[in-house]
């Protein structure tokens, strides 16, 4: 087994895709309801919020950082945009902008503390996780915000491809993945993110504006959490102060399942999408098979360990 793994260097690139296809084939053989357009549209909707957040998480992990605050920042963004629109009666687009700005502020705070004060990302984002959670609870008084204007619900509405209803949010998510893929592969700032995670000293010596880049990565990631907040609001139809509490670990799971190294500098954004889909497909398939949800969590845990193990074994020969 080990020998076989060692002979396949790019496991990290095609392994997640194989796992996804194998899972799909397995569930298709177990239940007829799995392999339908409607079910796939549902899976995409279920993974939409976490997989958008996982884009930001990927950018950060590529720089050898981590963001534990993402779910709470997302929840704060969704409370700010819904309360601005409902309680303050603000123009819904301005309310959305307000929510995005609240998220960006946290991204700047994370980025500045990590870059200029040189604190470890794990600790900084553990702190901002709690701060964002508390602000969310205080501002919302732990109350769900409902009665939202249509503009905030747009991404939850659907259009039809043949028989299948697809949400606009799904389209936005796929578009964001395409944009991130393009940024990371084809542009110099994208390659600099890899260089920063690969060898920060080399990046600095070669004149890459490392500090500015790192702050930008945390800020852009936070903007992405803000967009995830808009998607979460549109999907559930309310501003939920309890949202996002496990999204930090769920997004990290997607990134790791997608073959990105937690040590930074290696990985792909499409891997993250596949990682998010693997989790979504397992949850959906097991539900259709009538397996209790606690087993879905068990299997997700096993998958993460497997993903990291194959990744490490395939690299060890280098």
């Amino acid at each position: 087994m080990r020998h076989l793994l060692e002979r396949m260097p790019p496991v990290a690139t095609f392994g997640p895709l194989l796992a996804l296809l194998a899972a799909c084939a397995f569930f298709a053989s177990q239940t007829d309801r799995f392999l339908t357009g409607q079910n796939f549209s549902l899976i995409l909707q279920q993974v939409m919020v976490v997989s958008v957040m996982a884009i930001g998480q990927t950018l950060i992990i590529l720089t050898a950082g981590i963001d534990l605050s993402c779910g709470m920042v997302m929840a704060l963004g969704s409370i700010v945009m819904t309360k601005f629109a409902v309680d303050l009666g603000m123009n819904p687009y301005l309310a959305i902008a307000g929510g995005l700005l609240a998220c960006i502020a946290f991204g700047l705070l994370n980025g500045a503390l990590i870059t200029y004060v040189r604190l470890p990302p794990f600790i900084v984002t553990l702190g901002t996780l709690n701060i964002a959670f508390a602000i969310t609870q205080i501002y919302s008084q732990s109350q769900t915000v409902s009665g939202l204007p249509d503009a905030l619900l747009f991404f939850g509405t659907t259009f039809r491809i043949g028989q299948t209803a697809v949400t606009y949010g799904t389209l936005l998510m796929l578009g964001m993945y395409l944009a991130a893929w393009f940024l990371l592969r084809e542009t110099s700032p994208g390659r600099h993110i890899y260089a920063l995670g690969n060898n920060p000293e080399a990046a600095r010596l070669m004149g890459i504006p490392a500090q500015c880049l790192l702050v930008s990565v945390y800020t852009i990631a936070a903007l992405i959490y803000g967009i995830a907040a808009l998607l979460a609001v549109a999907r559930t139809g309310v501003g939920d102060p309890q949202a996002g509490q496990t999204d930090n670990l769920d997004s990290i799971t997607a990134v790791v399942l997608g073959g990105t190294s937690l040590f930074g500098g290696r990985g792909t954004i499409l891997g993250t999408l596949i990682g998010a889909l693997i989790v979504g497909v397992f949850r959906n398939g097991l539900t259709l098979m009538g397996v209790p949800s606690v087993y879905q969590i068990l299997i997700t845990g096993i998958l993460v360990i497997l993903a990291v193990t194959t990744d490490q074994l395939s690299r060890r020969r280098m």
């Binding site: 110099s188 390659r191 080399a202």
Partner: protein, 257 residues
């Protein structure tokens, strides 16, 4: 004080650098001729690496002057020195292992697509970067045919080759190489020493820092011997025996001039 000589590519006079009570550079002089390989040798604590850091912009000396082509220069960061055409090859290579050879060659100096795509979207011209990387390596006869390989798949000598190609490709004035043969085997060291000569033969003067005396005497045109924060001697490599150079370096002998 005499005017700086324009025959010199690089010159430094009376460089002083103190760290608290320790004086790392105590009025050190330095000169580099066009098209030469100048080896800088010295015992540990002689101020060798402090001198090199001052020349490459990695630190700012407390006192003293530096000249490039006879004009005074001041470097605050390595980037300043690079803008003046001084490329430094760092001991730990400063390569990003998971990235390709071409990406490493052009790290921080990427070629972008022409027009708005390049200036606004920062879109890379990968084709051109790969082609130029191959051309640079061919130029220096580094035996790597593909520039899309990840650097971590290369041997130690090949990695050093990539690092040399990068500095030679962008240096307009001077290449500084810090222990380029450290951690390499005999065969790979010879390959790198050949590379150092080829860089010089293309007209670029090379400052070579090394602990390895046989390597120094194999390639250097002149030798700068650093001792106690000063230049103890500057000699032509063929005018001095290895044992004498070591004696000056350790203080067992005082330089004649």
């Amino acid at each position: 004080m005499s005017t700086p000589s324009s025959a010199l590519v690089m010159e430094a006079r009376g460089l002083v650098k103190r760290y608290g009570h320790v004086t790392a550079l105590d009025g050190a002089d330095f000169e580099l001729l066009p098209g030469e390989i100048l080896a800088v040798i010295g015992d540990n604590g002689a101020g060798k690496s402090t001198l090199i850091k001052a020349l490459s912009g990695a630190l700012i000396p407390d006192e003293g002057e530096m000249f490039l082509d006879g004009k005074p220069v001041k470097f605050h960061t390595p980037i300043d020195a690079r803008r003046q055409g001084i490329e430094t090859l760092y001991q730990d290579l400063a390569l990003a292992p998971a990235m390709t050879i071409a990406e490493n060659l052009f790290l921080g100096r990427e070629i972008h697509k022409p027009g708005l795509l390049g200036s606004l979207l920062r879109l890379l011209d990968k084709k051109k970067m790969n082609a130029e990387a191959v051309a640079h390596m061919k130029d220096l006869q580094i035996g790597i045919g593909s520039s899309t390989q990840a650097v971590e798949t290369l041997s130690g000598g090949q990695r050093q080759g990539v690092a040399v190609a990068r500095s030679a490709a962008f240096a307009r004035h001077v290449v500084i190489m810090d222990e380029p043969t450290a951690a390499l085997g005999v065969k790979e060291s010879n390959m790198v020493l050949d590379l150092v000569r080829r860089v010089r033969d293309r007209g670029l003067p090379v400052i070579l820092i090394s602990h390895n005396m046989p390597h120094v005497f194999e390639v250097a045109d002149r030798i700068h011997i650093q001792r106690l924060g000063q230049r103890a001697a500057l000699v032509k490599a063929r005018d001095i025996k290895m044992a004498d150079a070591v004696a000056i370096m350790t203080g067992a002998m005082v330089a004649a001039s």
